[in-house]
Symmetry: C2
Subunit: 361 residues, 2 copies
């Protein structure tokens, strides 16, 4: 029997147990070579094979077209907030940003340091409970790019559609929903995702970028932040985060074994239907997000009486249902239910929520 | 019996076996909490305790004065090459750089993108086999800082003294020799070190910076590269490389158990004396570096007939003596003998070298 808890952390998040077991078995001696992956030169044949396979598996999972580069970088999504304008926003130009919550606004703040930002649409009039339809967006046909966050990890607001931006490159922060369902990569100029939710350990950020967008970095862009330099060097201009890259590769292998992103979509749909369904039917719990914009990955919810929050969390902890506390900026609860969590985790959570409601609701 | 090889890789480098064993034991279930360190929120109490202890242990090991911040960042030393001028070189100002090899020249190239660089001294006239004495340096009293690399990982050239720069802040790339012996941190304005040699896994860079140097970042400096932002947020402005930080903490614990950097100095002195002593006494092997500038950490050596290189490396591999091939830019051999390698590794290497010389020399 495993003594593993159900971990609803928003990130760094739960990893598949099978992946951790394999990493554990290989930790001191990878493939009988007498050393850990952590101890391999990133330029060795063994490590190169690990890195190349990880990239290929990710390409397979997302059907990444041949004219896109896949980069394994450092600094997380927050570093991308600067890296994107430094690479894609020419001096004096303007970019369109869509505001759907805390993370997309952080991207706006950083981009403003490098040029003009046009907030082409905002969820603010909807109290961040719904995503403004594209018919309401004020897109600039001359924008250098359009940026949005496909899933707001804190607010629990997710796009279930892809914006149409014509010839203007579409840039998306997909940190918390990449690989959760099939994706048409060809709609995007650039996709980026911090690893620590649906990919692997923190300290890694994956960037999928269309080749024609490379080679435009500003003169002030640090060499390490220049996408073209990274692409030309196979993400090894310097030593990459080798162990995180390897572990992400194990997650990609696991995803393929599970049936890929189509299978994940089925499983994630069942998970979110069960949890939102229970919340909507209950008298104690509520989630404010408009139906079609409800996140499949991050489910914030409140108790009707917030004085019960502490007991709710203590009881959850005691049952091995961890990290259900909402983000400090919004309070309440949040269950993050990424790929690594199965329906058993949802059943355990719903079971506890029902029991708590019966006793204290 | 362990089937671990002796790994002489320059980086990512060997880690102490005891550290890997502990990480392995804890990989799926840290302290009975039912989750991996990789799966912990970086803001949780458990992870905060891990992070704080790692910092404190590093402070203890290096006797870091209270007016210095210790930062755990991403992007490696190569990102620091930009981060340093972006934080410490005002527009229009000049910085002094010391050229002792490939890594210090890479730092120069990147700094030139942000301002004036004065090469105050170079090892070039010495064919990079010796370090120019400070009496020959042309320091600029108005320089924003003086930068040098205390150990050139590729050339095998190491400072065994600390430059005197008066009121001008001294900045050092200590990636490959930090923690190898005691250090007077108070002599420095800023010390940085990529983790993957003497600290932990790649994907982490440690920066020790004097507080009065914070808050000077240029307007174009990405938020994620601003030392003050990192310091004000305890290196958690965004999600840090949590697992690398944790594993580095295990290395710091291990170092303390071994007797700290004073014990490491003794051990490293014995290791390098044995290896250089053997090389100097042999008829087949040679190292070109002037005695007092020979690196304690990276020992490049050549065979008298380079046609023997391939057989030498194949025989070494067969005996579990891994990664002895020199850097592609210089050829020959290189034995990197960081803290994690004991005298037993040196004896195994010297034993093989003697045997090979007897048979083929």
């Amino acid at each position: 029997m495993s003594n593993r808890a159900f971990n609803f952390c928003a990130g760094p998040a739960a990893l598949p147990e099978a992946v951790l077991q394999r990493a554990q078995a290989e930790l001191l001696d990878w493939n009988g070579k007498g050393l850990s992956v952590m101890e391999m030169s990133h330029r060795s044949d063994d490590y190169t094979a690990i890195a190349v396979k990880a990239e290929q598996d990710l390409r397979d999972l997302l059907s990444v077209p041949a004219n896109y580069k896949v980069l394994f970088l450092q600094g997380g999504a927050s570093q991308q907030f600067a890296e994107i304008p430094l690479n894609l926003l020419p001096e004096g130009a303007s970019a369109d940003y869509i505001d759907t919550g805390i993370w997309s606004r952080k991207a706006v703040e950083e981009a403003r340091r490098y040029g003009k930002v046009n907030i082409a649409a905002s969820a603010k009039p909807y109290d961040y409970f719904a995503i403004p339809p594209q018919s309401e967006w004020q897109l600039d046909a001359k924008a250098a790019y359009v940026h949005y966050a496909s899933n707001e990890t804190i607010g629990g607001l997710e796009f279930n559609w892809i914006p149409e931006t014509g010839d203007v490159p579409l840039v998306v922060d997909m940190s918390s929903d990449i690989l959760s369902r099939p994706l048409d990569v060809s709609k995007f100029g650039l996709i980026y995702a911090g690893a620590q939710k649906n990919i692997g350990p923190s300290g890694l950020v994956v960037v999928v970028v269309r080749e024609d967008l490379l080679g435009r970095a500003r003169s002030v862009c640090p060499t390490m932040l220049d996408y073209k330099i990274a692409a030309d060097n196979g993400s090894m201009y310097n030593t990459p985060a080798t162990f995180s890259w390897y572990l992400s590769g194990l997650v990609f292998e696991w995803l393929k074994e599970q049936g890929g992103v189509a299978a994940m979509e089925q499983r994630n749909r069942a998970k979110k239907d069960r949890l939102y369904g229970f919340i909507d039917a209950s008298g104690l719990y509520s989630n404010p997000i408009t139906g079609e914009a409800r996140s499949w990955m991050n489910v914030p919810f409140r108790l009707a009486d917030e004085r019960l929050d502490k007991d709710f969390l203590a009881g959850a902890d005691a049952r091995g249902l961890l990290n259900l506390k909402g983000h400090r900026s919004v309070g309440g609860m949040r269950a993050s239910i990424y790929n690594a969590l199965g329906l058993d985790a949802i059943e355990a959570l719903v079971g506890y929520m029902a029991e708590f409601e019966k006793e204290r609701g």
